[in-house]
Symmetry: C2
Subunit: 224 residues, 2 copies
Amino acid sequence: MANNKAIVLLSGGLDSATTLYYAVSKGYQCFCLIFDYAQRHKKEIRSAVKVAKRSGSKYKIIKLDLSGEGSALLDKKMRLSFRGGRGEKAIPSTYVPARNIVFLSIALSYAEVFKSRAIFIGANVIDYSGYPDCRPEFFKAFKKCAVLGTKSGTTGEKINIITPLIDFKKSEIIRLGKKLKVPYELTWSCYEGGDVPCGRCESCFYREKGFKESGLIDPLIENI
Amino acid sequence: MANNKAIVLLSGGLDSATTLYYAVSKGYQCFCLIFDYAQRHKKEIRSAVKVAKRSGSKYKIIKLDLSGEGSALLDKKMRLSFRGGRGEKAIPSTYVPARNIVFLSIALSYAEVFKSRAIFIGANVIDYSGYPDCRPEFFKAFKKCAVLGTKSGTTGEKINIITPLIDFKKSEIIRLGKKLKVPYELTWSCYEGGDVPCGRCESCFYREKGFKESGLIDPLIENI
């Protein structure tokens, strides 16, 4: 690869960890951006750091000052989305306003500085919670914006936004991760920051379903 | 107006100050976002705060962790662009990678939280330095991205990105500002953070040209 530098958005969950390991397996030299945006708990940030280190990649924690209002992921007074607690098509309370646009924009800025030609993000639209900024049409629109709004785009050195898991079921992500030796025991998906996953939030629901369907055991709860 | 709340991107320069006063004159209740992204100097941040206060608008300073490398506006070791020091069509050294995408994305997040239906940004393509993220086609692409990547866009409550100065010459901006009583004595355009404008950088060049062509006197240098 002529230029193998990539920016990877890393959250500490299993999708982004798998994405990082996928990028590494494809020969990319990855620089991980981990966002500290006043989430309900810091546990996922610590998980992200452990995953980045284990993969041998560099990382940076970026503090981000989003408004705490309006999202259950940022506001401890709000109720989290639980499975069945809302209509199938509604956007859950854990939606963080414009989160992926913000993350991708900052990744784009770093990509330009580092002369990376790729940004990896672990979004997927199958076993997910219905966030608008995880859909392929959003990423397509962002790519266009990135070309038009940057020096690199204008001079023809396009930065690709790569979503390797976009069409994967959670079980397929986990099977791919297993092959890539992703240390799932270091990841954290639960919206709560307890000692063990709560087992009730939507994120726990999809993780549990994914491991079950993949026929594998979640190392995070193996010994509970 | 049913909903008159707006987010205004405020830099401390004369374009964004004029944009703020324009939005206020149109009846918008403005909330200003002022970015502290490790610029060469803090003077423009202090200017932005003064302008926001004078206009009677609320504001928030957002600290933003962009990489310091690659732009003369962030890196004091790099040389600033001077008029004539580069080809007419080249993008100057003061370009900050993906800056407007990052600013607009964060504004979008705040707009969703505050249920604002408008984001104002004082970009213009006439007397400007050739930044790709100031062009109308970029704003058009961003609008699409904003619709597809947010809850509000998905539910039909679109957030408008308004660029009132996009086709204005600098002199026209200044004439409009004069009518709107923009306190230009509080603004700061110079890329350097000295006691008085350097008079040599590209930003000083356009400001000086604009005041000259408008037939008005710049209150900032009136008494030097």
